[in-house]
């Protein structure tokens, strides 16, 4: 068993989203500054989204019912991460492997066609329900790879992916499993999109995180997964460590069901917890991958908090490349944070043009070299749930 504040090694990364169907493709897109925006019809209007193109979706994706596609995305990201980690089927069989994944759509029974028929008294077939009961993303991944360790689907809304990685690290530290597949997966869904439209927090143009003229978020889809592994397991198979999870924090605003606390009270505590667990000071952090959804409220909170807590530390949002992938965001952004540590640079915060006079924080406007070893990724969710992860690069 490891100490409760011991760094947990990461041996594999997997990711697919609109910015790339694999970690190398994602890296290429980020540093090329390319946006892959698509347009989706919702209730007669066209909205920008960040969706996987038909060449990027995993096998069987379109054949699945909507809710099971989240699990398909998670399986594809897990597959890449396990290959990256060098974990074969034989390795997995000999180890206790847990799965901890965040999602929103993957746990929601919101099949519109079924429900319209139900409401109209047309007595729909219950196959959509059977599919929903098969669609739990963590279970789908565990079954796909024959894993029998602890299995947890976290539904903390938009912080789910980050929270999942933090909890999976606790499992590894506590010896509940030798290996944990952790991150998040979510997909575009018209019902969820209608919900965000109702909240008036979407932009009709490609999103502009931290920009003065930002109007809101664009939705995206994808999955981001890391493989966390005990030192003993790594020693046994002589594996390569890609990075370390050094710190994790999770705290609540206790303020509002859908809006962040304006002073960033809960986010600050989550960041402080992560720093404490990592035995680091704010000045030790070399860059921040912000939640940066491009909603006026979210970016104001982060844009004020970062210069106050982390003066001079460069930060940016990658939502301009990926869209807001909801429960997957924390997983995808954890992967991006680690790949930035490996690349020793962070991408320009695409969509940002004009500073907002309402806060001091300014995201990076060009690809920016970083010299240090510590990257921070934060997530903010409905109901005021905040998560922070600190990664250390493998120098």
């Amino acid at each position: 068993m490891m100490q409760i504040d011991e760094a947990v090694p990461i041996t594999g990364l997997g990711c697919l989203c609109a910015a790339g169907r694999s970690v190398p493709k994602l890296t290429e897109t980020l540093f090329a500054g390319r946006r892959c925006v698509a347009w989706r019809q919702i209730r007669g209007n066209s909205y920008p989204v960040f969706q996987l193109d038909s060449h990027s979706v995993p096998a069987g994706y379109y054949e699945e019912a909507e809710c099971e596609r989240c699990g398909r995305l998670a399986m594809a990201a897990a597959d890449e991460a396990l290959i990256h980690a060098g974990l074969t089927g034989e390795h997995l069989q000999r180890r206790r492997v847990g799965v901890c994944l965040g999602t929103t759509v993957g746990s929601a029974m919101n099949n519109e066609t079924f429900y319209r028929d139900f409401r109209a008294g047309r007595m729909p077939e219950i196959e959509p329900i059977r599919r929903y009961l098969r669609a739990n993303p963590a279970t789908m991944v565990a079954q796909a790879f024959g894993l029998t360790g602890p299995c947890q689907t976290i539904t903390n809304a938009c912080s789910s992916g980050g929270v999942a990685i933090g909890h999976a690290a606790q499992w590894v530290r506590a010896g509940l499993c030798d290996v944990a597949i952790a991150g998040g997966a979510d997909m575009l869904c018209n019902v969820i999109h209608a919900g965000f439209l109702s909240l008036l927090v979407t932009d009709a143009e490609p999103c502009r995180p931290f920009d003065r003229d930002r109007r809101g978020l664009n939705l995206g889809e994808g999955a981001g997964v890391v493989v966390l592994e005990s030192r003993q397991s790594i020693r046994q198979r002589d594996a390569t460590i890609q990075a370390w999870l050094r710190g994790y924090g999770n705290a609540s605003d206790a303020y509002h069901i859908s809006a962040p606390e304006p002073g960033g009270r809960g986010l600050r505590r989550a960041l402080e917890q992560a720093l404490t667990q990592a035995h680091l000071y704010p000045k030790d952090i070399d860059f921040i991958n912000a939640h940066g959804t491009a909603t006026p409220e979210n970016d104001r909170v982060e844009g004020r908090l970062f210069p106050d807590m982390f003066p001079g530390v460069p930060f940016g949002s990658t939502k301009g490349f990926t869209g807001h992938t909801l429960g997957a965001a924390g997983g995808i952004e954890a992967v991006i944070t680690i790949l930035c540590l490996q690349e020793k640079r962070i991408p320009a915060s695409i969509g940002f043009h004009e500073p907002d006079p309402d806060f001091a924080g300014r995201p990076v406007v060009e690809n920016t070299p970083i010299a240090g070893r510590y990257g921070l990724s934060d997530s903010v969710a409905f109901g005021g749930n905040n998560a922070a992860l600190i990664f250390q690069g493998q120098s």
């Binding site: 519109e112 999770n250 509002h256 109901g383």
Partner: protein, 350 residues
């Protein structure tokens, strides 16, 4: 589980049996039965399916009307269960603390709000649906409302793993305590009944969805849908002289690997679903003493939390056992195992 074992210092229960410990104990004495019905459209016309349903009106005892205005039914059920657990432990509301964790387990989440939101989409073709219903439709809505009402700024988690929700979430709650992330955890399982669930019961099980629940009738489908909340207030297992007892061991395992300690009462989560019956039957054949509390609260994914809570209050009233092994199985062969030791009659103020 490493020492010290988490202590259970408060229990909050709400379900079809009513509100609070006495209502649950009374249902345990009488055997329990559904207290309501859900209308279901079937090929032979509208039918009324039995269900264990919560009366949420007492929530106003704990929460100001303004705070209730935007709260969905799912969250009200959670607030009732949580408030009762805190009251049971003698803790005043709001807590106003950042060192208490909140962990919610739910099989289906805020299902009624999800379908209410779909209603608002469908009814308002061309218009924006209700933002309040959307905010309330996410699985984490109960945890969010609870953190706001109780003024809890600590870590917060919602887990949705169907029948394994309770064991999965409780593993995390106990880790938080053992790793000293928090001083206490308010842990609860919450699920709600909705018309779509009733329709599914009718379509899946037909006339077998009428109960009564017979958890040991292995070959028959007897599940009756239920809703409610079961909350446990957990602390590190030191300096808790007024505790119900302790959680000794938690395990997520496969059915064939479950062994029931010889001195423990086996509390089976058998809730009348034949898809899981073979697993329960095998376990049943290995245990000297066994029971099932499911007829008290009905069939719901987070039912294992009810089993632990009911066992705790039964022990408190000297009508239960001092050691229990609660087992919940799913149709995939997974089992959640919770072993507890209770101090019978120790609290003495039931």
């Amino acid at each position: 589980m490493t020492e010290p074992h988490p202590a259970i210092i408060g229990v909050g229960l709400v379900g079809g049996f009513g509100l609070g410990k006495q209502a649950a104990i009374e249902a345990l004495r009488t055997g329990g039965r559904p207290n309501g019905t859900v209308p279901v459209m079937s090929s032979s016309g509208q039918r009324q399916l039995p269900a264990y349903q919560v009366d949420t009106s007492p929530v106003s005892r704990f929460v100001a009307p303004a705070a209730l205005r935007r709260m969905n039914r799912f969250a009200k059920i959670a607030v009732l269960g949580a408030s009762l657990a805190l009251e049971d432990a003698g803790w005043s509301i709001p807590l106003k603390r950042d060192d208490i964790g909140l962990v919610i387990a739910s099989g289906y989440g805020a299902s009624k709000s999800t379908f209410d939101f779909l209603d608002s989409m469908i009814d308002g073709e061309g218009q924006f649906p209700s933002p309040t219903l959307f905010s309330n439709s996410v699985h984490s809505s109960a945890a969010s409302h609870l953190s706001i009402v109780l003024e809890l700024g600590g870590p917060c988690l919602t887990v949705s793993q169907f029948e394994m929700s309770t064991i999965s979430a409780l593993l995390t709650a106990c880790q938080w305590l053992q790793q000293d992330h928090v001083k206490a955890v308010l842990f609860g399982a919450v699920d709600e009944v909705c018309p779509v669930l009733g329709y599914c019961y009718d379509r899946f099980f037909g006339t077998d969805a009428y109960g009564p629940m017979e958890p040991f009738a292995w070959d028959r489908q007897t599940a009756v849908m239920g809703e409610g909340a079961a909350f446990l207030l957990l602390t590190r297992g030191t300096d808790n002289s007024n505790a119900y007892g302790h959680i000794d061991r938690l395990a997520w395992t496969q059915n064939q690997d479950v062994t029931v300690p010889g001195d423990s009462l086996l509390v089976l989560g058998a809730d009348g679903h034949t898809c899981c019956a073979a697993n329960y039957r095998r376990l049943s054949e290995t245990a000297a003493t066994q029971t099932a509390y499911t007829p008290v609260y009905g069939s719901l994914p987070g039912g294992q939390a009810f089993d632990v809570a009911i066992a705790a209050i039964a022990a408190e009233q000297d009508s239960g056992c001092s050691r229990i092994c609660s087992v919940k199985c799913d149709a995939n062969g997974n089992c959640g195992v919770i072993e507890c030791t209770f101090d019978q009659g120790r609290r003495g103020h039931a």
